[in-house]
Amino acid sequence: MFKNNIRLLDTIPNDTIILEKNSRLILVGLLEQGWSGQRHLVIDAQAKDAHCECIFFILGSHDSSFSAKIEAIHRAPFTSIKARFRAALTDSASCDIEGIWKVEKKAIGADTYFSHHTLLLSDKASAKTAPYLEIKTDEVKAGHAASVGKVDEDSLFYLLSRGLSEYEARTLLVEGFFEAELSAIEDDDIKNTIRNSVVSFLSHAKNEK
């Protein structure tokens, strides 16, 4: 991961980002406020050796809605666009993420990845995920993963069996859920900002109960 070209976003913008030749861009998003409608972000790798890595953390509470369409287009050889979403939703928050990953015929050597993992922490939270792939060349590394669910029962039991209270155990697991992605970010300030946000998100979730 590259420390230099890193940008911390607090929302997903309606925008088109054009990646230049031999460029490296890192986008980190800490999304705590939802928005209305669907945002459309296009990341266009038009030139050779353009790389972009995005990590988005969604902390949804109340009735916040996070709806976005991320379009990643690989048009030149040896480009990579990867995006990872981690969302924890409580109250009646919802997230709806469409990821449209395209690899054109001349984009040989493309390395692409999209993942969206959501933890639903309350009855009324909901998630929709649609990770799409359109691949027109065989010289490609492409994959995606998605999951939706509540906190893992077996992990919860393990922590409870060591004497942690239900609240402590769930907190550890939700923090751990985000921590798994945080380790890839080199900037400590950004990491801590996100960790602090997760902690206040969780204490809000506790107080609401």
Binding site: F157, Y158, L160, G163, G176
Partner: protein, 255 residues
């Protein structure tokens, strides 16, 4: 010195869904005692441990379990840990994103507070020192403190991590499920030596579950129980194991 009864299990029955697995288990453990529960796969040994720890997948259909005269079955899972039960799992769960050291410190403090609300929580640095001292005895690398719980640990490392937790949480009674599987001879010797030392120091009751008679080469039990079809069918001393070694479990079950 008369030994106190710590754990009393009477006629415990349990099921998973519609399948009955425990059909009336009765057992009594005194402080400082070492018991071994043996039996074939499917006899209900691991289920017994899960039920004692309060795993939500199982339904208790009848019977009673008391720990130091308190009703264990009424307690939540963390309450049971705080009351002094420890379960060393056969296949310890990996919990990605949660650091081993951090989790163990929180568990330790949680249990300490339950015993004495005025106790002062141990901070990360002092606790890491405690961990390192114990890890030294188990020949476990201290880098494990900052790794995610059980993630990428080898079979042997997972078992050592369970023992490490047991050492630092000071339970009144520890149940170890198949502790010998995944450990080579040297590692097993180290683990058992540490186990016995902890037991002596804390007067801890110890129950080891195994299907392998070879466990006796390492542990000197006060009593051996044989489980079959969800019940304890025979109890006794080492002579029982000799019978199993000669004629397999069927030799015993015929009696």
């Amino acid at each position: 010195m008369t030994k106190k009864t710590i754990l009393q299990i009477k006629n415990l029955r349990a099921a998973i869904g519609d399948t009955k697995i425990l059909n009336g288990v009765s057992l009594q453990i005194k402080s400082g005692e070492t018991h071994i529960i043996m039996g074939q796969n499917g006899s209900g040994k691991s289920t017994l441990l899960s039920v004692l720890m309060g795993h939500p997948r199982y339904d208790v259909l009848g019977g009673s379990v008391t720990l130091n005269k308190k009703n264990l079955l009424k307690m939540s899972v963390p309450e049971r840990a705080q009351a002094g039960i420890f379960l060393g799992f056969q296949h310890p769960q990996a919990v990605s994103g949660v650091t081993f050291g951090n989790f163990l410190r929180l568990a330790h403090n949680s249990i300490a507070t339950a015993h004495d609300p005025k106790s002062v929580p141990v901070g990360p640095a002092p606790f890491a020192n405690l961990m390192r001292a114990e890890m030294e005895k188990l020949k476990m690398d201290s880098t494990f403190i900052s790794r995610f719980i059980n993630e990428g640990f080898s079979g042997g490392e997972k078992k050592k991590s369970e023992i490490l937790q047991m050492a630092l949480l000071s339970p009144k009674i520890a149940f170890l499920d198949e502790i010998d599987s995944g450990l080579d001879i040297d590692a097993l010797k180290i683990v058992v030596t540490e186990l016995v030392s902890i037991q002596k120091k804390q007067g801890m009751g110890l129950v080891i579950v195994s299907h392998n008679p070879k466990i006796l080469d390492f542990i000197e039990p006060d009593k051996i129980h044989i489980m079959s079809k969800g019940k304890i069918v025979t109890q006794g001393g080492k002579e029982i194991v000799a019978k199993i070694e000669q004629g397999g479990y069927s030799a015993l079950l015929k009696d």
